[in-house]
């Protein structure tokens, strides 16, 4: 049995025809992103049509499961009673490597809340909610100072 970071009472994902492929891959501990068959662009949350070229053909491209923290919050209020022993917890948006700008909302686990910062490297950590249901959380990267080979244009640190 794998590690658990959150209680059983956490909401489970439910899926539509468009999103079920993501969760089916997740059950196999594979992190995937929906990718257009025609123009190759990625999109998330998954949808029925490419918002760039309007192709309806797409596949699930497997990702390395690494990325960097785009933004985060340390949650200090238990919005459901089952989390009262689990606060504070960290919610992050992860800029995924090789995903061309797709970011995933998740949690940073195996880390103290004072550790989290924008830009920190993270890697996926699967939490099995049941035999056929897993959710991707993230932990601090165990690989030191590896720069992602494909940095997405939106990762540019300067906007001004």
């Amino acid at each position: 049995m794998t590690e658990r970071w959150f209680p059983d009472e956490m909401p489970y994902p439910s899926a539509s025809a468009e999103t079920s492929g993501f969760w089916e891959a997740a059950a196999d501990h594979r992190l995937v992103v929906q990718t257009c068959d025609d123009c190759g662009r990625t999109r998330h949350p998954p949808g029925p049509v490419c918002p760039s070229c309007r192709s309806t053909r797409a596949h699930w491209a497997e990702l390395p499961g690494t990325g960097s923290v785009y933004t985060y919050t340390v949650v200090r209020q238990a919005f459901i009673p089952a989390l009262s022993d689990r606060i504070p917890y960290i919610v992050v948006a992860v800029d995924l490597d090789e995903a061309n700008g797709v970011r995933l909302v998740s949690n940073l686990v195996d880390a103290d809340h004072s550790q989290v910062e924008i830009g920190m490297r993270v890697e996926v950590a699967w939490e099995d909610m049941g035999p056929d249901l897993s959710v991707p959380r993230f932990r601090p990267s165990t690989v030191l100072s590896v720069e992602s080979p494909t940095r997405s244009p939106t990762q540019s640190p300067t906007v001004r």
Binding site: P13, E24, T71, I80, A82, V105, S106
Partner: protein, 430 residues
């Protein structure tokens, strides 16, 4: 003020040169969440509508349209029957969610007036969140205690369920990660803004303290008797960093409504005419439901209100710019998002919302842009921002409890961070 007003775009599209005006406002009492138990939310909607019609000096017999915005439980078709409207000629609900749609609902009503589809449209919102659970029971979250006691026990082995709506399929990417409610989602937006621009907690606190001071003069304000200092702000408990409790709006019970009609009709009515000079609504490419369901939008949109396009269309429609605005009622679900709206609507440069707010410009009296003169959602009441439209009308009539001397123009905005909308109101007839 000084700028010569040109005929607004909406009017140009009108079939007979009709101009929409706001002729009446109505409000019920406002209380904290769960404070109203002796009237249903639906009864309050009726009460607010009747009050607005009466304020205008009209009769319900004159009303032929009803408009609201997404997530409204109080359906216009039932209201039309129960109120006894002689003929319902127009009914609409904006798709823009929650707080994003108040100004859009008024804009939609104004378009119905200007095209001649209707003569008198009432825009309404009623919220009694104590009567309907709200947070912690979002889509895809069946585990909450609000489930009927007789419901079957949760299956021991979780499995992937079918989403019952598009929203439910989308929040499957946020709810399992403990992003249960808006403060968490928008705390992440502000954290990004702080990272990019150096925005501070004290700058956010300035919004909370300033609008609380405005509320102290407003007898309707739920928090009117609760003054707040910057120390109080910093001592309030942390909800989701960087948001403290006092960065978050109230949760309220209450209802309000505004009457939209033609300038011709308004001229014969009881109250000073307030013109809907322009309206705009929408969202940028890929924005979806905003940052609550989607973190993959471009950086320039993520750490923003998502309202730059709305602002551009609004100013073009009004023939005015930010420097022409005398008073602003800015949607304030969170202090930090007020800063982002001020940026998107062009009152300051992108990234400068914090220093702009901290400079004191938003305070009444004396500030160059008095904001949320009723106390806003942070201190008056949380009626999904339709109470901001009501306060805008008061300012243009000259009878706010924080009246801006000689105010002739008012910007009203709806929620940042979701598909949103905005209005420019003007004192007097066009």
């Amino acid at each position: 003020m000084g700028a010569a007003r040109r005929v607004p775009q909406m009017n140009q599209r009108g079939s007979r040169g009709r101009q929409a005006c706001l002729a009446g406002i109505g409000e019920t009492r406002y209380t904290k969440w769960g404070g109203i138990q002796d009237s249903s939310e639906y009864q309050l909607a009726v009460e607010a509508i009747l009050a607005a019609v009466s304020d205008a000096g009209l009769s319900v017999e004159d009303v032929d349209g009803l408009a609201s915005f997404a997530e409204d439980r109080n359906e216009a078709t039932f209201l039309a029957a129960d109120l006894g409207l002689p003929e319902l000629r127009y009914a609409s609900m904006s798709w823009l969610p929650g707080g994003g749609g108040a100004c859009a609902a008024v804009m939609n009503a104004a378009m119905a007036i200007e095209t001649g589809a209707a003569e008198v449209v009432v825009v309404y919102r009623s919220l009694c969140q104590g009567q309907f659970r709200r947070f912690g029971r979002g889509p895809g979250n069946p585990a909450q205690p609000s489930a009927p006691a007789a419901a079957p026990a949760r299956p021991r082995v979780p499995h992937l369920r079918s989403a019952k709506s598009l929203l439910e399929a989308h929040v499957a990417f946020t709810m399992p990660f403990g992003m249960f409610s808006p403060p968490i989602a928008y705390a992440m937006v502000l954290r990004r803004h702080m990272h990019l621009f150096g925005t501070t907690e004290e700058q956010m606190g300035q919004v909370a303290v300033t609008t609380r001071a405005h509320a102290a003069r407003n007898p309707r304000a739920v928090m009117g008797a609760r003054p707040m200092t910057m120390d109080d702000y910093f001592e309030s408990r942390m909800v989701s960093e960087p948001f403290r409790l006092f960065d978050c709006c109230l949760e309220s019970d209450g209802a309000c409504a505004v009457v939209v009609t033609t300038s011709e009709r308004a001229a014969d009515l009881a109250r000073p005419t307030v013109t809907v000079l322009a309206g705009a609504q929408g969202a940028p490419r890929g924005f979806g439901h905003g940052q609550y369901s989607n973190a993959s939008m471009p950086d320039a949109d993520y750490a923003s209100a998502g309202a730059r396009g709305v602002a551009e269309r609004l100013w073009a429609g009004a023939g005015l710019g930010p420097s022409d605005i005398d008073v602003a009622e800015i949607y304030d679900h969170f202090t930090g998002l007020v800063l982002l709206s001020l940026e998107d609507f062009g009152f300051c440069a992108r990234g400068e919302g914090g220093p702009f707010a901290a400079s004191g410009v938003l305070a009444w009296p004396g500030g160059s842009l008095p904001m949320n003169t009723h106390g806003g959602s942070l201190s008056e009441a949380y009626i999904h921002g339709l109470n901001h439209v009501v306060e805008g009308v008061r300012q243009m009539r000259g009878d706010s409890t924080c009246q801006v001397d000689g105010a002739e123009t008012c910007l009203v905005t709806s929620a940042a961070g979701v598909p949103t909308s905005a209005l420019v109101l003007a004192r007097g007839a066009p």
